[in-house]
């Protein structure tokens, strides 16, 4: 009975993935991608991996979905210039996906076969005398902290690159149409405090149970976007406080690495008396950085206002200078 449901779920994932690739219009493809993300959340939950399910829901489906939706709705290219070519062009990613799937399957089968020996990361995480009790957080911030550091560096670089395309390297000049319909504002007033509560919970829960900085950061980004798009951008740092908020995660990580090198002698070596507090503090700054970064990525998809004046004149004679600071 349960096995049947699992098989149906797996089949639905495959169908949704193929449909996402073959969707004739970009909008349908994005919606199907969101459906695919939802199904993947269910798959991870069925596999007993709530951490991955949360990350999938918050980042892979939520934040990426918001990016894709804003990209699709932001610009209207000519609708179907090359429909005949599209179906052929879709074969290439399908072939690539099939090849990657076959390779990955081979790797997984072999890993399953050789996996009985010692030294697997999962066993290491369980047996490691980590500074926090949750094995996933132990892997992310203790055993493989360098990997996480590099992930944060990549995210920071991506956000800074997106910001560099805007005036002054911030989003202060981005035009955000404020949707102030009362239904939406009422919803935001109810939802944002709840989301912030969840952010705090994920942050402190990450040490001992599913949760953590990435999930909390994605939720924080969602709350920031809700506020920024409903006319409360004064509550969201889009101006000169945005770059510091984006960089603070990487800076905190590097500070922790340097501090442990100086004081404990090894890069990112966490020791029990202060290790748990260090992890929590690091996760706190990571939440700010990830939240600000993901929200900035979504908002950076919108173009700058043409006139940079703080109070744009109604009869704006468009300034002839096109040399915004690159």
């Amino acid at each position: 009975m349960t096995a049947l449901l699992d098989v149906l779920l797996a089949a639905a994932v495959l169908v949704a993935a193929v449909a996402t690739l073959l969707a004739p219009r970009a909008g349908s493809g994005v919606l199907l991608f969101l459906v695919l993300g939802l199904l993947l959340v269910l798959v991870w939950a069925r596999l007993g991996a709530p951490d991955v399910a949360l990350a999938e829901a918050a980042i892979a489906s939520g934040a990426t979905g918001a990016l894709l939706v804003s990209a699709v709705t932001g610009r209207r290219p000519p609708a179907e210039p090359d429909r005949a070519r599209r179906s052929w062009a879709a074969l290439l990613p399908l072939g690539a996906a099939a090849a990657a799937g076959a390779l990955l399957g081979g790797v997984l089968v072999r890993a399953r076969r050789d996996g009985a020996g010692p030294g697997r990361l999962g066993d290491l995480a369980r047996e490691a005398d980590g500074v926090v009790s949750h094995p996933v957080t132990t892997v992310l911030l203790d055993l493989r902290a360098l990997d996480t550091l590099l992930e944060i560096a990549v995210l920071t670089a991506a956000v800074l690159a997106a910001l560099a395309l805007h005036r002054d390297g911030t989003l202060a000049a981005v035009a955000l149409p404020a949707d102030t319909r009362p239904v939406l504002r009422g919803f935001v007033h109810l939802a944002v405090p709840l989301v912030l509560l969840l952010v705090g919970w994920f942050l402190v829960a990450g040490s001992s149970r599913p949760g953590g900085a990435f999930q909390a950061g994605a939720l924080l980004a969602g709350a920031a976007l809700l506020l920024a798009l409903t006319g409360r951008r004064d509550l969201v740092p889009t101006g000169r406080w945005l770059p510091p908020a984006v960089v603070v995660g990487l800076a905190g990580f590097l500070a922790l690495a340097g501090g442990t090198r100086l004081l404990a002698g090894t890069w990112l070596a966490l020791a029990p008396p202060w290790g748990a507090a260090a992890v929590l503090a690091l996760e706190a700054v990571l939440v700010v950085a990830i939240g600000a970064g993901l929200a900035a990525l979504v908002l950076a998809a919108r173009p700058d206002r043409r006139v940079a004046a703080p109070t744009p004149p109604a009869d704006a004679a468009p300034a002839p200078d096109r040399q915004a600071p690159r």
């Binding site: 404020a178 949707d179 319909r181 239904v183 939406l184 919803f187 109810l190 939802a191 709840l194």
Partner: protein
Amino acid sequence: MLLDALTVVLVTAGCLFVTAGTVGLLRFPDLSQRLHALTKADTLGLGLVVLGLVVQGPGWAVAAKLGLLWLLALLASATNGALLARGAAPPPGTGSGP
């Protein structure tokens, strides 16, 4: 035993409502009718499923959490329905429309 039967009945009814909502989404001719089918029937279906799970007696804490989940889904579904319906009609620019 009686509670199990009640759960089966409630969850089945919930699934029927959700299915009816989906059929309505696929078959109804225009947006407002589709939204009507989706938001109302799905929310009711979810409520019935939640009720069926609460009957299993997992304790008050879990029951309260499930109830809160249903309330959140209710709120999100109603908001999304209203937004989609108003988004389809041509809105009068920004600001509070008439």
